[in-house]
Symmetry: C2
Subunit: 213 residues, 2 copies
Amino acid sequence: MNATPRADTRQKLLGAAFKVIREKGYAAMRVDDICAETGLTKGGFFHHFKGKEDFAVAAAHHWSDVTSGFFATAPYHRHADPLDRVLGYIDFRKEILQGEVPEFTCLVGTMVQEAYGTNPAIRAACDASISGHAAVIEKDISEAKKLYAADAHWSPASLALHTQAVIQGAFILAKAKQGPEIAAQSIDHLRRYVELLFNRDSPGRNSDDHRDI
Amino acid sequence: MNATPRADTRQKLLGAAFKVIREKGYAAMRVDDICAETGLTKGGFFHHFKGKEDFAVAAAHHWSDVTSGFFATAPYHRHADPLDRVLGYIDFRKEILQGEVPEFTCLVGTMVQEAYGTNPAIRAACDASISGHAAVIEKDISEAKKLYAADAHWSPASLALHTQAVIQGAFILAKAKQGPEIAAQSIDHLRRYVELLFNRDSPGRNSDDHRDI
DNA sequence: GACAACATACCAACTGGTTGGTATGCTATT
DNA sequence: AATAGCATACCAACCAGTTGGTATGTTGTC
């Protein structure tokens, strides 16, 4: 057949990990599931990865790469004001709650729930993914705080992680209730919290984008 | 041995489910794990439950029973003011973040992440547990809103579920970071949000209980 | 530019430990 | 003696990982 067809086979495998793990979780994922998704065989899978755990760690790293690229090019970065970027990020997180539950939920948030006590390497990779993303948000929060709430008694780091907690928790509710609506409402509450923290007036009930919840 | 020693064997089995599933998740839980925890054998386990999935559903129901009893007797109910009860609930959720991660995290929040797409009965039981608990909180929120924020553009139901989203998300962060500290910070943000929603002054930086985060 | 030497990518078939579940028997209580 | 509450022994399916092999590149050498 083809040798070195570009090594995008590895990407295909990791893409299958995104799908299967977001649907079923790490423990319920079977290597055969990944093979079936990609059209490979077991031999091919184990040529690319040492084992299931190694595969999951690679998937978490790939998730970090893909998501950081995705958010880096998101439109909310165009705002000159850092608070507008923070609120734009939150709005963006709400906008991308589209499609079926496995399509918008978080790979590493799902995995770390199962693996934190049994697979240290997976836990570390998931932590790095979540914390790395939070660190990016933290920059805008930090700038906004200097401008608008310099004396407030909360740290940009803790607020950045709090945004991730709300989003991860919203995903759990979405899974329990089988749809994104409840998650969107929680993100609305998160937005209102940030508005209140910075004394920014909310769009109010007559705005296009913000219905009562 | 002993026949009909009280049928508390069933309780012991469900207690073992709490421990094992909070440590490893539902899919990674083995029936043998439950047997080892309880000192029973497979025969004993399958005498009480039809199968692993039936067991998990029973565990979710038992979780609802145990936690609703636990929160029903919590001290924050003594407050006459409903907003004090809401804030007392949040403080209580923070106080019980003690010990190792599997000791304070949520059984049904963990399970629903894995089972929502593959085990409808488990998902429904987890949803019932989360939503049932939120409904209890919602009562105090609703009373507080009538008193202090009758015209505000958010519903008690959505705020009650939001509190659960924050708590569930805080658990994910706690798992990723291997300790309750980060979860406590997120609950602090939740408290500050509720204070801001109701225009209640926060205790501020000189209070005993609330450090900067 | 031809060719040996080697590496990469993958497949088909197999293995052995694991795991949910069952069939059956024993024992104490009612 | 009937039944609840277990234990013992066992099975069939499952599943991560292995083995041996083939086809296709790549690289260095003359």
